[in-house]
């Protein structure tokens, strides 16, 4: 599965926006089988922790479906 690195910058319910290292924002929805809960998204956005999102393309939407979110080590920040 594809992965994307970045920081969560917006959260609404189980949807979130991931801003990648190039400053481009991408829209994600948590999969029902995702190894993360909607309640965990907001703390990640507040802390601006770097994350790696493993995802699949969404069905009939311009957005991705997150299958897994891993918190990455902070690098030179």
């Amino acid at each position: 599965m594809a992965t994307m690195d970045g920081r969560i910058t917006l959260v609404q319910e189980s949807r979130f926006q991931l801003t990648d290292e190039a400053g481009v924002s991408h829209l994600f929805t948590l999969s029902p089988w995702c190894a993360a809960e909607p309640a965990q998204l907001r703390p990640l956005a507040h802390s601006q922790a770097p994350v790696r999102v493993t995802y699949k393309a969404g069905v009939d939407v311009i957005g991705q479906v997150a299958q897994r979110i891993d918190v990455q080590a902070e690098a030179g920040r």
Binding site: L10, V11, Q12, E13, S14, R15, F16, Q17, L27, T29, L30, S31, P32, E37, P38, A39, G58, V59, D60, V61, I62, G63, V65
Partner: protein
Amino acid sequence: MNDHPRISDFSGSDLDRMIPDESRFTAGVLIEPGKSYGFFTDTTVCIGCKACEVACKEWNNLPADHIGLTGQSFDNTGELSANTWRHVAFVEKSGCGGVRDNSEAPYQSGWLMLSDVCKHCHNAPCLEACPTGAIFRTEFDTVVVQQDICNGCGYCVPACPFGVVAVSENDGKAHKCTLCYDRLKGGLEPACSKACPTDSIQFGELSDLQARAAVRVEQLHGQGVGSAYLYGTPGAPGATGGLEHLNAFFLLTDRPEVYNFPVAPTRASNRVAPSLLSGLLTVAALATAASFILSSRDR
């Protein structure tokens, strides 16, 4: 300094926090728990700009969906869905002697535009059908789906007489307009009504909106638009079948079905008792017939 002279027109905000009860200034209403809030959508002033659709998607972080051409005039979203909570309908009328007749009466006679949304029904059928309690009535008298409780059973989908609620293929949960529940809690009016440039979508306390809408209908009648009427106010079309009234109601100038609204929506729960009774009667009739046939065979 080589700044463009217009740059001073757009100086940055010097506010260090949100404006308390901002809705007082943008919608003229103070948002307080325990009161009923809703939308009054005056379709006669809708220009089909879709600012409401965009504002809704932006605030709620909703992805664009139904990629491709619908083939239906300027309508690119097509319908309300799990990812589209505001839908601007474009209805091209064939009256006045033809679709593109040169002599059309005023007030959008050739085109009807309407920003459709969840009606936040007083007796919400989706809420009544929800087995998990995920759909609840908020302190602002609006109807919201709690995403962490929804199990995606989809009972609310056929229960809604307006075809508003939809289950997402991507997260398997039911979604619909929340009437910007999070914004209301922060004293902000909903994103769509704030973005509407013509005030076609008006947010406010329900009793105020209903009074305002009645005045608007009278005004339109006085201006020669005799077809104007309200859809979803108490006793009006759209508030039938036990729904009582709709918190998001509309001013229309043509029959409801022209706007893709049901003429007489009803609560699904109204049909439970008759359905159960007819099912029991069918079983009883079949059992009687079977016993009659079997007993006649024995003879």
